[in-house]
């Protein structure tokens, strides 16, 4: 049986990779996908903790996180598409203002 700390360690590594991706990349779509990596790292940690303590509540929480992630992706991609329609550019360096 794999110790639970392996799972949380992997979760930490994935979370750090996602955070670096958010900070380094310029493409908002890739930044969104890096956020998905971070969310999944947190989900993995939740499931690992739930398995460690033998109850299913961690998995219920992961279920809610998945729902919120789906809603967030839908709205975020709609915002990106709207910005692209107006600006014809997608680099996050140009998007310093919240209004246009």
């Amino acid at each position: 049986m794999v110790p639970g700390s392996y799972y949380t360690g992997l979760s930490a590594v994935l979370f750090a990779i996602g955070a670096v991706g958010v900070l380094v990349r310029r493409d908002p779509l890739v930044i969104f996908m890096s956020i998905e990596v971070m969310l999944n790292a947190a989900n993995l940690a939740l499931v690992a903790f739930g398995a460690q303590f033998g109850n299913a509540e961690g998995q219920v929480l992961v279920f809610f996180v998945m729902t919120v992630a789906a809603a967030e992706v839908a709205v975020g991609l709609a915002i990106i598409v709207a910005i692209f329609r107006l600006r014809r550019r997608l680099s996050v360096d140009d998007l310093s203002a919240m209004r246009w």
Binding site: V2, V20, L23, L44, V60, A70, A82
Partner: protein, 230 residues
């Protein structure tokens, strides 16, 4: 055996995440992310969370990634990251920051106090989750539907606003152009003869389309010549 499987899948997961961050092409990044999500689904299976593994594949690798790939296809990004980066020194700060974050999270995640005696079987089947969702977590579960509805309406509003604005901007000029702009546009194009030529062409096309009267009526319409010019 279990450890070998875990290490293999963990390697694939980390490789997928690294591929997403390091590859320039966003579509390659999306496919690497699918690999990452699939390997995490396998990890859920090894943890006894069958329902979440299936949900992960259906919701993440299915719905969300299709949405991402679709957005990538529509927007065709990637041009943003080809030129020199004016903020490169600032961005390179992300690496020490990321290393610090990794250290911190690892310290927190791995060196926790050991859990109490490990329970034998994890109650992680579909039955356990369903029972929890519809008893203890019924209210958050219902709120989820409200959240999804709000996201749906929000996305529709976001997608529709620009269209309405574009139509509002385009409508008046077209109405004005119907009468007054047509000759001006012809002059700007420097092809007065083109309008005459169009008149000559009209019957031919009308015959081909089987609607001669429609073609003549449209001759007075301003947007039509511009569309022809393209």
């Amino acid at each position: 055996m279990g450890t070998v499987v875990f290490l293999l899948v963990a390697l694939i997961a980390v490789g997928g995440a690294l591929g997403l961050v390091l590859r320039r092409n966003p579509i390659h990044g999306a496919l690497f992310l699918v690999v990452n999500l699939g390997s995490i689904a396998v990890l859920y299976l090894t943890l006894g969370a069958q329902f979440l593994a299936v949900a992960q594949v259906i919701i993440y690798a299915g719905a969300i990634m299709v949405l991402f790939v679709f957005a990538i296809m529509v927007l065709i990004p990637g041009k943003e990251e080809t030129g020199p980066d004016p903020l490169r020194p600032v961005r390179l700060l992300a690496l020490p920051f990321g290393a610090l974050l990794l250290l911190e999270v690892l310290l927190f995640a791995v060196s926790r106090p050991a859990p109490p005696a490990r329970p034998a079987a994890v109650a992680g089947g579909v039955q356990a989750i369903g029972r929890l969702l519809f008893t203890d977590y019924l209210f958050p579960f219902e709120l989820t539907s409200v959240l999804l509805l709000a996201a749906l309406v929000g996305v529709l509003a976001l997608a529709k606003r620009t269209e309405v604005r574009g139509a509002a901007g385009g409508e008046p000029s077209r109405r004005i152009g119907e009468g007054a702009e047509a000759p001006v546009r012809g002059a700007a194009g420097g092809e007065p003869s083109r309008r005459i030529g169009e008149g000559a062409e009209a019957p031919v096309r009308g015959a081909a389309g089987g609607e001669p009267s429609r073609r003549i009526g449209e001759g007075a319409n301003a947007p039509e010549p511009t569309r022809m010019k393209r």
